[in-house]
Amino acid sequence: ARDLRLATTTSTDNSGLLGYLLPRFEAAHGIKVIVISVGTGKALKLGENGDVDVVLVHSRPDEDRFIEQEHGVNRRDVMYNDFVIVGPLVDPAALRGGRDAVKAFGKIMDARSVFVSRGDDSGTHKMELRYWSELGKQPTGNSGYRSAGRGMGEVLLMASELSAYALTDRATFYAMKDKVDLEILVQGDPRLFNPYGVMAVNPAKYPDINFDAAMRFIDWLTSSQGQQAISEFKVDGKQLFFPNAAP
């Protein structure tokens, strides 16, 4: 069978999730999966241009637009993990133990603490912007706000260097935990929920796309087997991704 090209975000690849899932899928279906791990924006662009067969990302509004504009079909929920607000141990804005993400952002702003933003239109960045707008504030009103324009790992390192706060997905934070002097200060807010969606590139647009393999991949990922594998994947004994595909 022809190889399947998957464009996905760095969080799924760098956390080791794909390394755990794909051999199982490949064994079951005899289809080799080629992973191109990039930012959400670029992953969707590759799908839009028909350069990959299937896309696995986390930015619901962008995903919906992708389907709406008929670049993709068959979008399915796969799993979620969650965002957490991390910061330096000294915690100058006193966020520790909080649950409310929007309130935490307000405290950061009031304390004029340094906050490092992804600033790259990624799913994480868009989530962050939602909290600011719920707060009713312009993030740039804070002189400590740094729009970094970089990936999650780099933003965590930068926050650690600058003793700053940051919004991150839990998987990347665990993967980077040993390298940064940061800890989770705020978690558990339902608004911090981070869902991943998978979708096939529209075969009507690109007839020679590997649509069959893409569908099989989506089916497997949302099947009980795939869902179970996701929940079995652990880093340091902790589960990072929680399957939530509709049966």
């Binding site: 090209r5 760095t10 760098n14 080629i34 992973v35 191109i36 791990s37 241009n49 028909g50 350069d51 990936g151 790992g153 780099e154 965590l156 390192l157 993967a175 980077m176 390298k179 940064v180 690109y206």
Partner: protein, 232 residues
């Protein structure tokens, strides 16, 4: 220190013949050496012609070639992507995310470097070299070969620089190669990946492995070329 330990470990893996590391090394070398071998005859010829022929617009071409040094490799990658993408004019060739695409990108990146430095080497040569070849009855090709042989250190420097540039560039390789494990992952994209993961020591170690390779290639090249760079 962690850095030294990791580097030692990386070099140990290299010499122990670690399959994963060697595959990456091999992809790097194959693509970059290939790109250089394919591009240098053309680029050296162009540089030679620019140095020896006068025609209107020559000066402009020279300055533009030198300005192309400033063209970020990622933009080369973007343009090539647009060409090779399924929607692009060459989409039907299905070259995207292949080593071939990476090689084409590196050829484009190497070209201005090779042209400009050949040009400056030939321009710096004593005019009598070319004249002597001509009056002794050498044709265009032999004359060119003679001149280039006489300025071989300059041509060599062009090749070294071109090689260094392509084997270490990451922007284009990521864009058209995709950093696919086991297929299009080369040293620089592997380093970039380690960096994103925060594995700095690992990244530096791979960088040092790359340096060791480049040193090896450069020594081999300068040895093959004989004599070596002696002051006059």
């Amino acid at each position: 220190m962690e850095l030294i330990e990791t580097t030692r470990q990386a070099l140990r893996l290299l010499f122990a013949g670690d399959a994963e590391l060697w595959r990456i090394v091999w992809v790097s070398l194959k693509i970059s050496v290939g790109a250089l071998l394919l591009m240098s005859p053309v680029a050296i010829a162009v540089g030679y012609l620019l140095a020896t022929q006068r025609f209107p617009g020559r000066r402009i071409i020279v300055v533009v070639t030198q300005a192309l040094f400033a063209f970020p490799t990622v933009v080369v990658g973007l343009l090539l992507y647009m060409l090779l993408s399924r929607q692009g004019p060459l989409g039907s060739l299905h070259l995207l995310f292949t080593q071939t695409a990476m090689m084409i990108g590196q050829m484009l990146i190497a070209a201005p470097i090779l042209v400009a430095f050949t040009l400056s080497a030939v321009q710096g040569a004593d005019a009598r070299v070319r004249e002597t070849a001509i009056v002794l009855g050498a044709g265009r090709w032999r004359t060119a070969l003679t001149v280039l042989t006489e300025v071989r250190f300059g041509v060599m420097a062009a090749l070294f620089n071109g090689f260094g540039r392509v084997i270490s560039e990451v922007g284009c390789a990521l864009m058209v190669g995709g950093n696919i494990a086991g297929m299009t992952r080369n040293m620089p994209t592997a380093i970039a990946l380690e960096t994103t993961k925060g594995e700095f020591a690992q990244g530096v170690a791979l960088g040092i492995v790359l340096m060791v390779l480049a040193l090896g290639v450069n020594f081999a090249m300068s040895w093959a070329q004989g004599a070596g760079a002696q002051p006059q």
